[in-house]
């Protein structure tokens, strides 16, 4: 974030995304359980009326009104196993919207830094792909020039396997952030 703010970019509002991973509640652990064990969810502070579920094995993203959480609470079939909070600040740089922040596991351990880049004029994923890659490469140069440690690692989101369209949407963002959560969980702490 120091490297972003050194370019006299205006800092915008705070942002937050809360992701969770669930496990099924079984009456008898010894009996077979023929249902999903990889349920994830994500909620975005900028889109408070919506809530998203991801089933990774099924490559399924489900979008619902945010009160679906109340229904899941009443059903008492899946329990929250862990929570990831992504939080930071937004920045506007010309036609690009940047979100930079940290990923915190269970409110305690910082597992990494996240950088989200959005190119505002174009919502086609394919048409904006090259431009976004070049922007991130430029940003890597900025980080190096400021003698900051670290390298930006691009996480290729698996949109194709979720059968999402080329037009970017909140469902794409849901897949990206839960993909990031899975990536951080697979890294050693």
């Amino acid at each position: 974030m120091k490297s972003i703010e050194s370019l006299n970019v205006t800092r915008g509002a705070r942002w937050e995304a809360k992701a969770a991973q669930y496990r099924p509640m079984l009456r008898d652990q010894n009996l077979p359980a023929d249902f999903a064990r990889d349920l994830q969810s994500i909620f975005f502070s900028e889109n408070p009326s919506k809530f998203f579920f991801i089933l990774r094995t099924e490559h399924m993203v489900v979008e619902a009104d945010s009160n679906v959480q109340d229904i899941m609470e009443r059903l008492q079939t899946y329990r929250n196993r862990l929570t990831f909070v992504f939080e930071g600040y937004q920045y506007q740089l010309g036609d690009f919207n940047l979100k930079a922040g940290r990923a915190v596991l269970n409110g305690e351990s910082i597992r990494g830094i996240v950088l989200e880049v959005e190119y505002l004029p174009v919502s086609s994923i394919e048409k904006s792909r090259t431009l976004l890659q070049e922007f991130v490469e430029l940003w890597q140069d900025v980080i190096s020039k400021h003698s900051l440690n670290g390298k930006i690692s691009h996480l290729e989101p698996p949109f194709g396997s979720y059968l999402l369209s080329d037009t970017y949407s909140w469902q794409h963002t849901a897949v990206q952030y839960t993909n990031m959560m899975t990536h951080f969980l697979s890294q050693r702490s």
Partner: protein, 184 residues
């Protein structure tokens, strides 16, 4: 939460009721066509069995899906004084892959119904919906075109309104008041 009263009407009197409702409401009726799928949790899922309804509203060009959880009715001395049933209800819009989603979570289809008819929206104290529908069973899985009425000569009349925890007395009275105007 919801306040609701239910009754039945013979099919031959439905159009007469529709005329009465239009006169009382002052607006046009709206079509109702809802595919109601009742899902129940699998044998080992959850500490207690649970169920919910996936309602597919087919009255629009694009089907709209809602997940609905109906909780227990209000109990106790206060509830017995109520002129209408007061119960916990949650409705939530959801994307059209909801059935496959809940199936993956371990929910099984228990039964499915098709409700067709019409409804009127009133504004008395609070928004109140009066619906008159034929409730049909679906003999073959998801084949709504082959739905047949469960009670061919009778249709279901429901008078319902949403309520919060602190105004259900007034809402129940309004629902009951409107229902009385419809009684033969």
């Amino acid at each position: 939460m919801e306040c609701i009263m239910q009754g039945i009407i013979e099919t031959q009197h439905v159009e007469g009721l529709a005329v009465l409702l239009q006169g009382l409401c002052g607006s046009q009726r709206q079509a109702v066509k809802i595919h109601d799928l009742c899902l129940k949790s699998g044998p080992n899922l959850g500490q207690v069995p649970s169920e919910m309804h996936l309602m597919c509203d087919l009255s629009h060009q694009e089907p709209r899906w809602i997940v609905r959880h109906v909780g227990g009715a209000m109990r106790g001395a206060g509830a017995e004084q109520m002129p209408a049933l007061v119960r916990s209800v949650l409705n939530c819009r959801i994307s059209n892959n909801a059935l496959r989603f809940f199936h993956s979570l371990g929910y099984k289809l228990d039964h499915e119904l098709l409700q067709t008819g019409f409804k009127f929206q009133f504004h008395k104290v609070v928004p109140i919906t009066v619906s008159v529908t034929s409730v049909c069973k679906i003999p073959k899985l998801h084949m709504i075109e082959e739905a047949v009425p469960i009670t061919p000569g009778l249709q279901l009349v429901e008078v319902s309104a949403s309520t919060s925890g602190d105004n259900y007395t007034e809402v129940a009275a309004a629902v009951s008041g409107l229902a009385e105007q419809l009684a033969p």
